[in-house]
């Protein structure tokens, strides 16, 4: 077995070790923990490159596994292991590379936070867990790392836990993803009970290999559904939770309460992609047999793509727009997996990781430069103050919009749309995707014009709400930027923050060319069949280019022609259609729907019961009581003079009996114990009597 395959575990182990060491370090060891974390990531990146080179050398579909026994229970061994195949190799390189850049960026962004070491501890732990997810060759190992990833996500979203909104967002993220994880756990248990192994690949005996897949497809459950479909759907539910697909997407926008590098690393580039990766990993299981679970994946992805893109149209928080954009792009990836297979979805995952990390870090740079202002209405004109950020952000925007030919986003998105076009089941996902692309181009253009063009609106009009927020954040802001004495002028960020931006921007452009229809190296590497450069493809490219140009043109028409002067000005879209805009601004009221439906139902039910109790039953009781009172008045005369004596005596007897009985319930523990003791004696006697030889 080659050296790199044998030692693949080092890649996740190094960041985890770094996390353990910086957890022990005292708080002021900032340089120590940062260099530990970055060093481990760089070594991890180099190792990943080795692994990647090895995987390339193996050729397409080459796969090497290394399994070992973990522990025995009963007479079965639980096995864990890791796998090196093209999927793993690609993900490893992406995660370590983007991770390294974001770690570097964080040293600048978090420089003044007093919990710097804790931040890097969590980041390293996250990186280790994520890499563990990537290399896992067992659903169990994947699940363990998956939960660790969820835990670190919780810790990092709630990193500024003294902010109530951050604490709430952290809890929301944790609980929402937990819903999906329960399904994933169920799927895992089911898979284990059906196939007897959780290893993905084990020289023909793994659960993703032909023997067990055939068995899984052959079994059907009560609804006439193949077992493989059921398991696939349960696993997909886990991916839905982690990747923020409808209807479990609600946590992702709130997760933007965390520090921006966290948003870039976890909630854009890597963790949320873990769901997509999971589906890609179990793709053989999903596609086995009828492939019904893939249809579900497609539909959920397509709906998420358009749904989140439309919400993003009306948001004003710079990170929130990007968050919804992430949700929408994740939808595209899922759709790509559903309609076109692993290569299509993964290509978009990789390109998206680069340009979305770029956008988030650019947004972080903007926020940093504007002294923790996140509302795009109160920015404007930053082009002049932050040239590097602007240039890189523009590249990221073009990539996300899918600007034709030069940027990576165009190629990967086009791939998905092309696959959707050829999907035999339905054309609706394709059209949803096209409209989603239009929306994407529009909202990104809107954001760029708001933030970078026109004149600066920073600190011009402060509403009470924003003052409120400043007060809320006062504790954080003051600690974070003690050096900013004059908060009037936006400024460019330090080199440690801009350098990663430049690197990512270059990657966002170049990366697309490894997977063009003309030279589909990436797709071949992941083992997909490639059609080549047909007329269809050209037609589709032209169509999608036109769509992107329409979207960007509309964006310019609304926002670029006449830049906003005052931050209180209504959005042009709001002037046009206030009803729809408000619907979108409030995210289709999903949070409110959950509030109104699940939570409100409980409250309503309680109130209904209360009402029923008060009016119906109470009324009945009252009626009866009046009736009884009437009778009793009549009776009284009879009683007092006729049966008085005997009745009184009877009552006394009953009450005395009650008093005796209530003595059993005198709250003294020993009395209860005594009764238990007698019970024990009786039970033992019964058993002896029952077991005697007859």
């Amino acid at each position: 077995m080659p050296w790199i395959v044998k030692n693949l575990w080092l890649i996740p182990a190094l960041p985890m070790l770094a996390a353990g060491l910086s957890a022990l370090a005292p708080r002021r060891y900032k340089k120590f923990s940062a260099s530990l974390a970055i060093g481990s990531m760089i070594i991890g990146f180099l190792l990943s490159l080795c692994a990647f080179a090895h995987a390339v050398g193996q050729g397409e579909g080459g796969r090497q596994v290394c399994n070992f026994n973990w522990f025995q229970f009963g007479d079965q061994w639980l096995q864990l292991g890791w796998v090196l195949d093209p999927l793993t190799a690609v993900m490893l390189v992406m995660v370590t590379f983007v991770g390294t850049l974001i770690f570097v960026y964080s040293t600048g962004y978090m420089a003044h936070d007093e919990n710097f070491t804790r931040f890097f501890t969590f980041l390293s732990l996250f990186a280790g867990a994520m890499l563990g997810v990537v290399i896992a060759n067992s659903l169990l190992a994947l699940f363990i790392c998956w939960e660790l990833v969820g835990l670190t996500s919780y810790l990092l979203i709630g990193f500024w836990y003294h902010k109530p909104s951050a604490a709430a967002a952290a809890k929301k993220a944790f609980i929402t993803t937990r819903i999906g994880d329960v399904a994933l756990l169920l799927g895992m248990v089911w898979l284990y009970s059906q196939s007897g192994t959780l290893l993905f690949y084990n020289n023909g005996a793994g659960c993703l290999e032909q023997t067990s897949l055939t068995a899984l497809v052959a079994h059907t459950t009560s609804f006439g559904m193949a077992v493989s479909t059921g398991i696939g759907l349960l696993i997909f539910a886990g991916a839905v939770g982690k990747s923020g697909q409808v209807p479990l997407h609600v946590w992702l926008p709130d997760a933007m309460e965390g520090p921006t590098p966290v948003s870039a690393l976890i909630h854009a580039a890597t963790m949320v992609a873990a769901g997509v990766f999971l589906v890609a990993r179990v793709y053989p299981l999903m596609s086995a047999g009828s492939g019904h679970s893939l249809h579900v994946v497609t539909w959920v992805g397509a709906i998420t793509a358009i749904f989140a893109a439309s919400i993003a149209l009306a948001q004003n928080d710079i990170k929130r727009i990007l968050a919804y954009s992430t949700v929408s792009q994740l939808g595209y990836m899922m759709m790509g997996l559903g309609v076109g297979g692993v290569a299509v979805g993964m290509f978009h995952l990789i390109t998206h990781a680069f340009f979305k990390a770029l956008l988030f870090m650019g947004a972080g740079s903007v926020i940093h430069g504007c002294h923790d202002e996140q509302d795009i209405c109160r920015m404007g004109g930053l082009r002049k103050y932050m040239p590097i950020t602007f240039a890189t952000y523009a590249v990221g925007t073009l990539a996300l919009c899918g600007f034709p030919l030069i940027v990576s986003g165009f190629w990967s998105k086009d791939e998905i749309l092309h696959a959707a076009r050829g999907w035999p089941i339905s054309q609706v996902p394709f059209w949803l995707g096209v409209v989603g692309a239009l929306f994407t181009a529009f909202y990104m253009t809107r954001q760029v014009f708001y933030v970078f063009f026109g004149d600066t609106r920073l600190h011009l009009g402060k509403t009470t709400a924003s003052e409120q927020r400043t007060v809320d954040h006062a504790g954080v802001t003051a600690k974070e930027h003690p050096h900013d004495e004059l908060p009037g002028h936006p400024h460019e960020s330090p080199a440690s923050m801009t350098m990663p931006l430049v690197v990512l921007a270059v990657c966002s452009i170049l990366l697309g060319f490894i997977g063009t229809p003309k030279w589909p190296w990436f797709q071949k590497f992941l083992g997909a069949e490639v059609e080549g450069f047909t007329q269809d493809v050209v037609l589709l490219m032209v169509t999608s280019s036109i769509v992107v140009f329409i979207g960007m043109g509309l964006g310019w028409w609304f926002y670029g022609r006449k830049p906003m002067e005052q931050s209180e000005e209504p959005d042009p879209l709001e002037v046009l259609r206030p009803d729809i805009f408000s619907l979108l601004r409030h995210k289709y009221y999903v949070d409110e729907i959950y509030e109104r439906s699940v939570i409100a139902f409980n409250a309503w039910f309680a109130r209904a019961c209360d009402w029923l109790d008060f009016w119906v039953w109470n009324g009945v009781v009252q009626l009866v009581s009046y009736f009884v009172v009437g009778i009793s008045w009549a009776d009284r005369f009879f009683d007092e003079f006729v049966v008085n004596l005997g009745f009184d005596e009877g009552c006394k007897g009953v009450s005395a009996g009650g008093r005796i009985l209530s003595r059993l319930q005198n709250g003294r523990v020993q009395n209860y114990l005594r009764v238990i003791g007698i019970g024990l004696a009786v039970l033992a006697l019964l058993m002896i009597w029952g077991c005697r030889p007859s």
């Binding site: 319930q665 709250g667 003294r668």
Partner: protein, 103 residues
């Protein structure tokens, strides 16, 4: 009398002594001690049956007792913590006076 019977009788006596203490004493700590004695009597039974079983190599009796000791340690810790908490509130460890849960 076979050796097994001796151990079983010893265990039964310890159990009864613990039970009697738990049922008659006023102080909650002694009640807890009585319960510990009862637990130990049960452990003795496990070991005795393991020793005189036909397949002692299965080790089940020993392992059960090891787990039982672990559980008993946890029980003692939590039980005594409860007694201390109760003492702090009611200034008593008398089980006769701890009857605010009566019906």
């Amino acid at each position: 009398m076979s050796p097994l019977a001796g151990y079983l009788i010893l265990s039964a006596f310890l159990f009864a002594i613990g039970l009697a203490g738990a049922l008659t004493r006023r102080n909650a700590i002694i009640v807890l001690i009585g319960i510990e004695l009862m637990l130990n009597a049960a452990n003795l039974n496990f070991i005795a049956f393991w020793r005189f079983s036909e397949h002692p190599e299965a080790l089940t009796g020993i392992l059960f007792v090891i787990f039982s000791i672990g559980v008993a340690a946890a029980e003692a810790a939590v039980g005594l913590a409860l007694i201390i908490a109760i003492y702090r509130h009611y200034k008593t460890t008398n089980v006769d006076e701890m009857n605010s849960l009566k019906g």
